[in-house]
Subunit: 167 residues, 2 copies
């Protein structure tokens, strides 16, 4: 496998993984491309490499920036904008975890709280609904706490976490 093949394989695999986890393929691929690039890329560069339209590129770069994964960089002497992604994998994981928690998990916790606090009318089915949504709420919050604990160790959080769990 030469460089070109390896690069393409990586980008396409990353795109597929994204799709499986509810992340738009183009978005994942743009991130992958930037992630292995030695220097910031322009919109033209990205369009060219991934064979996608300007509109698509623009919209997905915006999303990546909203997520805090990609940033604009100014290249002196150049008029157009250039983009880079966070290059540190652990930092990347932290950002993704935090964002998905904030955007997708928090609202669900809110619903679980509402649902699990309905009035117990004494029927078995109501009791079950309350019990199960309470348990789910607890789990979700525990996982969120756990994730934040790990992720907030910032420096080498993963290694630290693994070590602690070994005991």
């Amino acid at each position: 496998m030469d460089y070109k093949e390896a690069k393409e394989k990586f980008i396409s695999t990353w795109g597929s993984l994204g799709s499986l986890w509810g992340i738009n393929k183009a978005m994942a691929q743009i991130q992958a491309l930037l992630f292995i690039s030695t220097k910031p890329l322009s919109m033209e560069d990205i369009m060219e490499e991934l064979k996608i339209s300007r509109g698509n590129t623009s919209m997905n770069l915006r999303q990546l920036m909203d997520w805090g994964i990609v940033t604009k960089v100014l290249v002196s002497g150049e008029r157009k904008e250039f983009f880079t992604t966070e290059k540190d994998v652990q930092e990347l994981a932290r950002i993704v975890a935090k964002e998905r928690s904030r955007r997708e998990i928090r609202p669900v916790i809110k619903v679980l709280e509402d649902v699990s606090s309905i009035k117990d009318d004494g029927t078995e089915k109501t009791k079950e609904l309350i019990k199960q949504t309470k348990a789910l709420n607890q789990l979700t919050q525990d996982l969120d706490t756990l994730m934040n604990k790990m992720v907030n160790q910032k420096q080498n959080w993963l290694t630290k976490s693994v070590l602690k769990l070994m005991k």
Copy 2:
């Protein structure tokens, strides 16, 4: 909010969360319905409650069974099949984590290994590709290890994990 509203809100929220994470809405909703049900449900019951077709119900139940989340139960005196889901949230989380790791993460690790072991031809871009995919491979494996460590504590893994990380 009465029982009916709460139930519907829970089921629809769970369905939406599924969609966001790449899980078919109907599949998530069937699981949610079973999760708060006081007794096993038949295909008819599910179709009726969620207003979905027989085909859709059948296919998604199959998938849930493949994942090990739902099981058939025989109700004595009844000819048709009935279904239940795992009711313990931690066990549920363990199963989902294991399955998604096995189906979706492992294959990616394989690709990362292949890509990161291409021959270093001395160019900067090849070095970067190797470096970054190696880092990603390491991260993925660490996360997988971490997850398995947590999840294999079986009894109350979450609480145990949180406690250890508190230190």
